[in-house]
Amino acid sequence: MKRFIGFVRKEFYHIFRDKRSMFILFGMPIAQIMLFGFAITNEINNVKIAVLDKSKDTETQKIIQKISNSTYFDIEQELSSESQIEAVFKRGKVKAVLVFENDFIKQLQTEKNAKVQVITDATDPNIANTISNYVTAMLQNYMQDKNKINNQKHQIETQTQLFYNPELKSVFTFVPGVMTVILMLVSAMMTSISITREKEMGTMEVLLVSPIKPIQVIIGKVFPYIFLSIINAAVILLLGYFVFKMPIEGSLFLLAVESVLFIICALSLGILISTLSNSQQTAMMISLFGLMLPVILLSGFIFPISSMPLPLQIISNIIPAKWFIIIIKAIMLKGAGFSIIWKETLILVGMTLLFISVSIKKYKIRLE
């Protein structure tokens, strides 16, 4: 035990004396969360739209009023005929046109089904998509409010995504995402680098020719990063909660346990990487391209998995980050308990066990 404590102390010296590790450990989480939270966002603001209101009744006026009152849209122009639509788009200022059908209010009252057409300028498909989502959300919102007041039961289709994130705050998807990326980066990359550094410096040779057991070396290497990763996770959650008003609906304890599970999973991946590489550079490359990119691109953090081509959807299943994002989103946004996320948790546990057993099998007690 004394050996182990001595080893861990040494690891902390390494970490605290290396400016780069300190930055990756503590600067990066804050920088990333701020960056994603404020700068890189797919929220829209003051998008200019045009309206073609064929009905011009009280209902359409209310809707238009609501839309123009929001900070998302500015109504730039009122059109009088469909022939104007293309000309408006060609000028480029207006990104979307709302078309209310004839007798809108009548349709709504009699058929309980009125049509609004949202025509978007899809030269930028992402923005077009977001705009149409926003408009749809606002219309549905409007309908909900109206139904409540009138105490009428209308069949309204709601999308779960909008339900749990009614304001469509992108921060709510970014906080879990950034947390996943940071935990992966810190845990996997930092451990793999710190183990390979010993190989590179030749100190691994001395450690091997000593009474300390390989398992003690591994745990000693990993231990400080479990600790630091937990601090990191806490910092990110606090930032999310206080700065971005991210709700934590579910149990904080469950969230913590799941986070520790993911950290251990990432650490075991880091050990696995270190058994495969002999230099810090290789370890870094494998971590960056083998872990970071898939985590960012395929975990559902930025691009929704459901809109990926099928092969990528299948591949995304082997990425631990995907399951962790599902878990923490469920806990934080839906307030889900263990009974809902047990399947994902089990997958993570399985993956962790697999990585640990492979890396123990691969860990070399000799130099070759």
Binding site: G6, K10, Y13, E205
Partner: protein, 310 residues
């Protein structure tokens, strides 16, 4: 009254290497090497880079497994009993393996704890080396000079009072002053009963060992006490000097009966093919070649002379 009864189990602290071979990608790094280091001996593996010295060290410290042959350290087998060897020997690898970002003291303390001991416990053993390091004990190892790193690495390898010490090229890249001091330290450690296996590419260090093995291209060329090796060398070596060293080498190489011509510091070591070689003849030849201030005298044989003739 208390009696401390110490039961001493006599374990031979020797090293036995039998027919060890090791290849990397079909290239034989070590080729059927056999030698023995006696308990308490200071034994040197002398040879240039790429001779296979490091591979032999790694096999003996259980870091590599031999392809063929077997070896024991303190009567433990290097393959089967690797754990026993690992916890009992001291090993200092080629590139002074220290933690550059830890201070001198932290390095020592770290190695002490992983060997389950403390700096205080074995202080006596390293005291005379550590005294030189003490003024820098708060300096990071990375900021030490080569000579100081070497001393620190030695202290780290000694911290658990090993009975067998493996030092792989401890003096490479270190200046002559530090090298000299280092060998004095090794002699003192030997007096404390430690068996030492040391490797070096510097031939002049051979004479400081009890016995040496000359090694090149994975093969051992000769094993014996350095004095015996030089004494057994039969050929006569002459020190030759003139004002124009470069021209002298050239002209000696053109002398019909020359056997070998090698620069050796301020002199050139010359060996003639003929048993009845007369220095006067050579003197005359060199004078004809316009050399001035010619000196021709018998030289002392060095290990390097022997090595080059193997």
């Amino acid at each position: 009254m208390n009696f401390d009864i110490a039961i001493v189990i006599a374990i031979e602290m020797n090293i036995k290497v039998q027919n060890i071979s090791k290849s990397y990608n079909k290239i034989k790094a070590v080729d059927a090497v056999t030698f023995e280091v006696n308990s308490g001996e200071l034994f040197g593996l002398i040879g240039p880079d790429g001779a296979g010295k490091t591979t032999i060290f790694r096999i003996l410290t259980t870091l590599l497994m031999p392809d063929e042959g077997n070896a024991t350290v303190a009567e433990y087998d290097v393959v089967a009993d690797y754990k026993a060897i690992r916890s009992s020997v001291g090993y200092m690898p080629g590139k002074f393996s220290l933690y550059q970002d830890l201070t001198v003291e932290e390095n020592l303390e770290f190695f002490a704890t992983i060997f389950g001991t403390t700096l205080a416990e074995n202080y006596a053993l390293i005291a005379d080396i550590y005294i030189q390091l003490e003024p820098f004990k708060d300096r990071r190892a990375g900021a030490l000079s080569g000579g100081m790193k070497q001393k620190l690495a030695l202290c780290c390898a000694l911290i658990h009072a090993p009975k067998v010490l493996f030092l792989d090229e401890p003096t490479t890249g270190v200046d002559p002053v530090s090298r000299k001091e280092f060998w004095q330290m090794l002699k003192r450690l030997q007096l404390k009963g430690i068996t030492i296996l040391v490797s070096t590419p510097y031939m002049d260090e051979a004479s400081l060992c009890d016995r040496i093995a000359l090694i090149q291209k994975g093969k051992i060329l000769k094993i014996d006490a350095p004095q015996v090796i030089t004494a057994n060398y039969e050929k006569l070596i002459y020190d030759i000097q003139s004002k124009n060293t470069h021209g002298l080498i050239h002209d000696l190489k053109n002398y019909s009966s020359h056997y070998s011509v090698y620069a050796f510091g301020e002199f050139i070591h010359y060996i003639d093919k003929n048993v009845d070689f007369k220095p006067e003849d050579l003197q005359q030849y060199l004078e004809e070649k316009n050399h001035s201030d010619i000196i021709i005298k018998k030289a002392e044989t060095t290990i390097e002379d022997v090595f080059m003739d193997l």
